[in-house]
């Protein structure tokens, strides 16, 4: 049985990971903003055979609450083996462009709050020389594009941060997994027209659980995104800047 802390537990991807872990009989501690929603998920995970499910509600933008959040998780689970960080918002690019305040708020939610959590978790895991950390970044962080560069730059920060953290924690036997999903059909993307490149959250969740088990490093989900992004990354800027992506 693993003891797993899920931050952003009401995200569709996180919820599907939790269902897989519940079926294995793992103990779960769920952190989310919406009390009512997380309670529904907690009851569901109990029926799906989780050995224990506890919850903690907070707005993760309140960085001064992060230590407390981790203390509560430690107490509830009697030690944490795996942390999944999955919270975030899909920024409205157009309205962010017109508002410094909104842009910084998106960076705060999608990058800074994650970095705060990672810093604290890394130190705790480093002290006990064990643990797995998994963070959901995005293919959007691989190269800034006009259609969503605010969300993308926040995710780029998360990707770069976890890359460095992975090197640092390597010596302490702690794995840091960065997940880069492509288009995922979730409530967060309900407004989008879906095409061939879209996948269900369950597909992403299966990959995440496998990546954590296999102590992987950076994982594109589905894998074909690795190919798509490597092409997008090597395009010369002169050409790239004219593309409508």
């Amino acid at each position: 049985m693993k003891r797993i802390l899920i931050i952003g537990a009401t995200s569709a991807i996180a919820e599907h990971c939790a269902r897989i872990w519940a079926a294995r009989g793992d103990a779960l501690h769920l952190v989310a903003r919406n009390e009512q929603h997380v309670q529904v998920i907690a009851s569901d995970l109990k029926v799906r055979s989780a050995s224990e499910v506890t919850t903690y509600c907070t707005d993760l933008n309140g960085i001064d609450k992060h230590e407390e959040l981790l203390d509560v998780a430690d107490d509830a689970l009697e030690g944490v083996d795996i942390v999944l960080i999955a919270h975030g918002t899909l920024s409205n690019q157009k309205s962010c462009e017109q508002s410094v305040h909104e842009t910084l708020a998106e960076i705060q939610t999608n990058a800074l709050s994650t970095i705060s959590l990672l810093t604290l978790i890394a130190n705790r895991f480093e002290a006990k020389k064990s643990g797995s950390i998994c963070v959901i970044s995005s293919v959007a962080g691989d190269r800034g594009r006009a259609s969503n560069y605010i969300y993308g730059s926040a995710k780029a920060m998360v990707t770069a941060f976890t890359s460095g953290l992975r090197q640092r924690l390597q010596k302490s036997n702690i794995s840091v997994v960065t997940i880069k999903p492509g288009f995922v059909d979730t409530p967060m993307t309900a407004e989008f027209k879906k095409g061939l490149l879209w996948v269900k959250p369950i597909t992403v969740a299966e990959s995440i659980v496998r990546a954590i088990d296999g102590k992987k490093t950076e994982v594109y989900v589905p894998q074909f995104w690795c190919f798509i992004m490597s092409i997008i990354k090597i395009l010369p800027t002169k050409i790239f800047k004219r593309l409508d992506l």
Partner: protein, 436 residues
């Protein structure tokens, strides 16, 4: 604003451009429902015709949480968007099974209640609705109420089988059936004609499960020849369940592949392959859901899709009438290889529930002008014989047929009026059938 998306039923025949709303929680479901003038809840889209088609559709995809499962008593409460397949995955290893199940596990709990589905044990267990202890629903007034056979009984009996037209089912509590094994002891009987098939149902009416594959293309002496499959839950063999899907149809195949010749070959082969009076033990999933092994099998009918015809004929003169119906189908040469015959037990109190005592026949027709004509002709015959058609399968029934064969439709409208459903919940089908 959400984009318009093309939606259709399982038969892919009736299509509609719709605004799809996919609430992430019950709270947002209530919020969205209040915003819209007229909405309809939609689950897996497995009803065949247009009964889940509407301009504003509330997809229950994310409302798929278990609420409570008492392993000691077999009482299960879950949100309406959970599928029977997800339920089976959890309950079977604990020694429980669905009290009633349709031929696919890819339907939601809410859909099973709204269609008041039946299964191979209808003659013994009745419909799904009989095993629903209570359900929580959102009314057109914005109120959330819990209904049961004891509480708001009128609303409960209108909602079970009510095709989502009384309100939005949010969650339901059902009583499960205890099992000692996830295996089924199956016995196969061959009946050379429709009369022999109906006789076999009669003489095996104490079997828990019974259903027949029927050859709708055979004529004359062997008209309605059937392979009857009886089943009982085995007493031992473990409680494992395998819900992995094996294969899937990746795209619409040319519909010409399913023609009179190929179907005839299939039917003849199936008949000769089946052995009379043979008993064997089979796993639960392939026994109850043989077609679920092939994902999106509806694509085999090609881009135009298909319509399904399912009727029930009263027991009195049932066999003779079934022969008349089969003669018509066989002469048309349009029927497919997926034809099913079953004997129903008595009807229940639910206002629009389909089953009544007698024989039910279900078969697909590849969509075409002549097929629709055949279906309409069959519809007229069924009305004359005092039978009716299953709303969950229907895509073409006339208003007059519906009103003549579902005599409780007026009571249904009274309940809808009383609970604020009129004008708030409607589907392409409900409009076609002249419901307010």
């Amino acid at each position: 604003m959400t984009n318009l998306t093309k939606i259709y039923g399982w038969g892919r025949y009736s299509q509609q451009d719709a605004y799809l709303h996919t609430p992430a929680s019950c709270a947002s479901l209530e919020f969205i429902a209040k915003q819209q003038n007229s909405v309809l809840a939609r689950g897996m889209g497995r009803s065949y015709g247009d009964s889940a088609n509407a301009l504003n559709v509330l997809q229950t995809t994310y409302l798929n949480h278990f609420i409570e499962f008492d392993k000691a008593t077999g009482k299960l409460t879950a949100e309406a968007g959970i599928t029977l397949r997800e339920i089976l995955e959890i309950i079977v290893p604990s020694g429980w099974f669905l009290p009633v199940t349709p031929g696919t596990s890819y339907v939601t709990l809410g859909g099973a209640i709204a269609s008041d589905v039946h299964g191979k044990n209808h003659h013994i267990a009745g419909t799904f609705g009989l095993h629903v202890k209570s359900l929580t629903m959102l009314l057109g007034t914005g109120q959330v109420v819990t209904t049961s056979p004891q509480n708001h009984a009128d609303l409960f009996h209108a909602t079970c089988g009510g095709m989502g037209l009384t309100g939005i089912i949010i969650s339901g509590t059902i009583q499960l059936l205890p099992i000692r094994s996830s295996l089924i002891s199956q016995k196969t009987i061959k009946a050379g004609c429709i009369e022999a098939a109906c006789e076999a149902f009669e003489s095996n009416s104490n079997a828990t499960y019974s259903v027949a594959w029927i050859d709708c293309l055979s004529k004359g002496k062997s008209l309605g020849r059937s392979v009857i499959m009886l089943g009982e839950h085995a007493a031992q063999g473990g409680l494992d369940i395998d819900i992995q899907q094996k294969i899937s149809v990746p795209f619409s195949t040319p519909s010409a592949l399913l023609n009179r010749a190929t179907m005839k070959v299939f039917n003849t082969a199936y008949w000769h392959k089946s052995k009379h009076n043979v008993s064997q033990t089979v796993a639960l999933m392939p026994y109850f859901y043989p077609l679920d092994a092939i994902g999106e099998w509806n694509r085999l009918y090609g881009k135009k899709g298909f319509v399904q015809f399912q009727c029930v004929l009263p027991k009195i003169d049932g066999v003779a009438n079934m022969r008349k119906l089969l003669t018509e189908i066989s002469n048309s040469g349009e029927g497919s290889f997926l034809a099913v015959l079953k004997q129903f037990g008595v009807a229940n109190e639910n206002l629009l529930s389909f089953p009544t005592e007698g024989y039910t026949l279900a078969l697909d027709f590849k969509a075409s002008e002549t097929a629709i004509k055949t279906v309409k002709k069959l519809e007229d015959m069924v009305v004359e014989m005092g039978g009716r058609l299953y709303l969950t399968k229907d895509a073409v029934m006339q208003e007059s047929t519906f009103k003549a064969t579902y005599p409780n439709w007026e009571k249904f409208e009274v309940v809808r009026e009383q609970y604020g459903a009129v004008g708030k919940f409607s589907s392409a089908q409900s409009k076609r059938l002249g419901l307010a």
